[in-house]
Symmetry: C2
Subunit: 222 residues, 2 copies
């Protein structure tokens, strides 16, 4: 079995990505970040998802609050509860570049050539670092950056199995793979009981995905 690093946030997309990587036969090593996000509830969710999938989860601390600049890492900036135009304020500066760089470091120490990330460029919030051209550029960088890329025989690959799927397709695929989406948290601002707000962009996209898939949404909304 080839080893793979799977970025796992505890949300719907990354849980589905992990299930796909496992179904594809990879020996998966999940990676999460305590990056100064508004709530630790998503890390609890990542732990539940990794346990249910029986994969090792590593949590790395990287405090992006040191830079701020996003509603997700600066508590003084409110999470929008209605759609906005352009790249929204929930965009965290260079987040996927930082996460992929750390996944690459972990892959290299595991002697893994495969990295999975659950980015999606269909039903998404318009973040620049979720687009296929970004992923392709990062993959090229990864192969030039590392010992395994330069000396290893096989190319490093960044897999984005969800990138061209609608949210409804993702939900259907995950349910077919046996995921219990009640374990996952997508909301940008869940309350202390892990109930989703139902209003933020992430809740809205998740809700519409379940509805379009014709599958009961197991999310607890406040």
């Amino acid at each position: 079995m080839s080893r793979a690093v799977v970025l796992l946030s505890g949300g719907l997309d990354s849980a589905t990505t992990l299930a796909i990587a496992k179904a594809d036969g990879y020996d998966c090593h999940a990676l999460s970040f305590r990056y100064g996000q508004r709530h630790a509830i998503e890390l609890d969710a990542a732990g539940r998802v990794a346990s249910a999938a029986r994969v090792d989860l590593r949590v790395v601390d990287i405090d992006l609050r040191a830079f701020g600049g996003s509603a997700l890492t600066d508590s003084r900036i409110a999470v929008p509860e209605a759609p906005t135009s352009g790249i929204p304020i929930t965009y965290v500066p260079a987040r996927n570049t930082v996460f992929l760089a750390l996944a690459l470091a972990y892959a290299e120490t595991l002697d893994a050539r495969d990295i999975f990330i659950g980015v999606n460029a269909v039903d998404y919030s318009g973040y620049p670092d979720c687009r296929p051209e970004f992923i392709a550029a990062f993959e090229k960088t990864a192969n030039l950056a590392t010992k395994i890329g330069v000396e290893g025989g096989e190319r490093i690959r960044v897999h984005t199995p969800l990138i061209a799927m609608t949210k409804a397709e993702i939900v259907r695929r995950g349910v077919a793979l046996g995921i219990d989406y009640a374990l996952t948290v997508s909301c940008y601002q869940p309350d202390d009981n892990a109930c989703a707000c139902g209003k933020c962009d992430s809740c809205r996209i998740r809700r519409e995905g379940f509805a379009a898939a014709g599958i009961v949404d197991p999310t607890n909304y406040a």
Copy 2:
């Protein structure tokens, strides 16, 4: 004045890079990492260099020991005291990718378009992430990854003023710019008094650089 983020390790190369960025007229914001390196002495050096240059220094914690795999982040792996072939064990997996990703995040929150890194591909240890092709690929990634890259008018640039210089040229340039290299630490394994070992790859390259430049080496060797 345009703002720039300058990666500052406290070594000779990054101190020179900061001086060049200042001389080029940038409003410099230095960035260092507490990444689990063997010694904190290099962070002290970064503090001294930033103070002497009168620039703000931000230190971000990112524990690369969580992954290990290098003599610089795993105390069980010895630092080689003689040249080795291939990419040496002091290579830290994906380190410059991680550092540049975080510099990019910081640049974005500062609304800066310029990042400086003191990589050198002449008198260096053979790390893959010090080569011009890596830097060019990262720069392309940065412009696709970020809000400032996508929505901003001006391209993000990764500057590598030292990349084609010999160590002797770097030392001469730094001295001309008024750097006190006694403030800097290059050694991979300084002792508790911040004395350099004089034996590791980094000490060897630094020593030869001062000798070739015909400039007295202010380093305290053990």
